[in-house]
Subunit: 426 residues, 2 copies
């Protein structure tokens, strides 16, 4: 790889998500040369992907180019490529654009979809992990209504207008809320000659309740809010197959749908070659309290790809943006300390709480000491998400979009640009 060699140790960071970006921003480049690698030239703000899917926000409002973020950092290099292999013996990573040597390697590659080995689901469901996924889902949803107008076959119309979301975590719940608002407030204007009562939104969740990691009270409020919006929720249910547009489950229910949205299982995603590393639950690389991979030298794993296993965190930490960001900041500081020969301190997670929104005016927020719901929670949810967005421009664009939507009930343009085509088996 075409990176100048200078007289400083080189840190290579793979992945410009919440964790990797913090390392790149906070590392002391008087002490290190930093190389950041990502397969996209932008950072994606994943928590708002669902609003891109539901055509509420445009891609450019939740993505921010890595080069712009790193404009002013010296000794910092970004490269757009895919990492193919890590050679921990030689401290080299192999990429499509050549090899590169590292002194310290930071793997912050996040998570990918876990379809639990079901090829039909893997091929035909629509995931929600990337901007491309979100745009595909958007054009699928909008395209389905155009198609529904043109069929007189009622069964076909139903499968086009039924949406089945698997997983009732924040992504599933928030997307269900956004689809319900499309159905109730927005699509009736776009499709006056389509009977939108045919449109059904189903959420399937294996756990006994929605937003399972949150407090029971929050789950109940979210459940009630979704029900009120007309969303059908099937808990303690899991999908067994998806064939010929029929979703089958472990229970009696089956669902006819052209659109199965996968917001359920994820697993750690990282390049091959870490043979000496231990892999734990959720296909995540086990690390110690210092985010260092066990059994491998000079390799740190941050965010969803890693799983701390220590006395302090015997169960590890959840796969959340806040864990990833805090680990990124922690590791940058730890490496800066290391360069000054200061003693290492372990990572301690500061759990600030969690939240989810269920359509207009409604959210559930859980902070350390108390929890609340409703309109004020929704304001908090919006404020926190705006502040976490990268770039002043994007904050303004998202804020203006939200305000416009709030007062005009007409969010975004709903363009079908570069339509999604369902893959066929090769």
């Amino acid at each position: 790889m075409n990176i100048p060699t200078i007289d400083l140790p080189r840190i290579v960071v793979i992945g410009a998500g919440f964790a990797g970006l913090q390392v790149a921003k906070k590392i002391d480049t008087n002490q290190y040369q930093l190389v950041l690698i990502d397969k996209n030239n932008y950072h994606t703000f994943q928590p708002l992907l669902y609003q891109v899917s539901s055509a509420g926000l445009e891609p450019d409002s939740i993505a921010y180019p890595i080069r712009k973020i790193l404009h002013k950092k010296k000794n910092t290099f970004y490269r757009l490529t895919n990492v193919e292999h890590i050679d921990t013996e030689k401290s080299i990573i192999k990429t499509a654009i050549g090899d590169i040597f590292y002194d310290q390697l930071v793997i912050a590659t996040g998570a990918t979809n876990n379809f639990f080995g079901n090829d039909n689901i893997a091929l035909h469901s629509l995931p929600m992990k990337s901007l491309t996924d979100a745009l595909n889902l958007r054009s699928k949803i909008l395209g389905n209504f155009e198609k529904a107008l043109n069929t007189t076959d009622l069964e076909r119309r139903e499968e086009l207008m039924n949406f089945v979301i698997v997983g009732a975590g924040p992504t599933g719940v928030e997307l269900a809320g956004a689809l319900a608002e499309l159905k109730n407030k927005i699509l009736p204007n776009d499709f006056p000659d389509l009977d939108l009562r045919v449109m059904k939104i189903h959420v399937i969740e294996a756990a006994p309740r929605v937003l399972a990691p949150m407090h029971e009270n929050s789950s109940e409020k979210a459940f009630a809010a979704l029900r009120k919006l007309g969303v059908h929720i099937w808990t303690e249910t899991f999908v067994t197959d998806y064939k010929d547009n029929i979703v089958t489950t472990n229970g009696d229910q089956s669902f006819r749908t052209d659109t199965l949205i996968w917001a359920a299982g994820v697993k750690g995603d990282f390049p091959e070659g870490l043979n000496a590393a231990e892999i734990g639950r959720g296909h995540r690389i086990i690390t110690d309290d210092f985010c260092k991979a066990k059994g491998v030298d000079n390799v740190y794993i941050l965010g969803d790809a890693g799983l701390i296993q220590s006395e302090r965190y015997p169960q590890g930490l959840p796969m959340l943006a806040s864990v990833a960001m805090q680990q990124g900041v922690y590791l940058a500081k730890a490496l800066n300390r290391l360069a000054r020969n200061k003693k290492a301190v372990p990572f301690i997670y500061n759990d600030k709480g969690s939240m989810a929104t269920i359509g207009r005016n409604k959210a559930v927020v859980e902070l350390k000491k108390f929890r609340f719901q409703g309109f004020f929670a929704w304001l908090v949810w919006m404020f926190v998400h705006l502040m976490l967005l990268v770039g002043f421009r994007n904050r303004v664009v998202v804020f203006v979009n939200w305000m416009w939507n709030y007062f005009r009930y007409n969010n975004g343009l709903r363009l079908i640009v570069r339509p999604y085509k369902r893959p066929t088996k090769a």
Copy 2:
């Protein structure tokens, strides 16, 4: 096609460009049922496509959904589909979603690229006719700089950083100006470790001067402005082939480039089946002074797809947005008159002039009675384009983007979303 049959004559309009949209907006739906068909669910403001290509504007700021435009029109139906065939004997059009009968047919399908039979150019050049084209070109341009960083082969770097534009009409000239601004003002911040002097922008034009249809004086000003921005212009030159990343011409010049941009020949684009119609210059359907196709009943051709041949316009009219818009308004009124049994009047084109911009602060404008250039022309260019955009939202978005760009020299985010892949021969 699933359209209700009512007791009014049905007008079917194919194409929601400048012409088709005006017909749909202005037709009297107390007198007619209107069906509008387009293969995209949005109207594209083609004059600003080049700014999407150069990452100055996002797609959603120059496209507007057809359903939103027609929200309040009664007896008006839009369908997203491709027209496969026209049967003028039976007055039926065949589409992917079924057949539909028309009483009056309006063909406003515009133009497509004319590669003059060269398969290599057709396959490997990048056109600029649609939003998809513009996004492909954008990701190609940005991706090439990422690749250029990673090669030590100087010849390869040159071909990645050379851009050859064929055609010095408004599109070619405006894109060349925008690329020059990327080179001079924007990319140096994004790519501090890339020597941007390597980047070359060539414009190849068969005519003896740029902006050939405009006055000589405007051509000279545009030429001088492009030269000042560092653009290389080759007039009286035409491209003969594009193979192995080499553009060959009729002259001595050949150009090594990974990116050949086709802003040259276009030809009328319309569905098959108009066998009785006469086809004229530029593969356009010949019409009379009333925009009615010669030799066919009840079929009107508007905009780029049609070519008026009459005493008044023996040479026809140019392929311009203003012609298309005026024809759309004219035909709607003519059909409204027809419904009231009023006498038909011929179409008369009101030539308001033409204009082009060449980067920041510079444009050439030609009005009926006088012409001017420079900063004031640039303001006029911006004002006219803003006013022609569909939708208040898009006017605001484009205006804010332009102002931001003007004062901050940092237009847009330059995201590579869904990268372009060069096609290979099947």
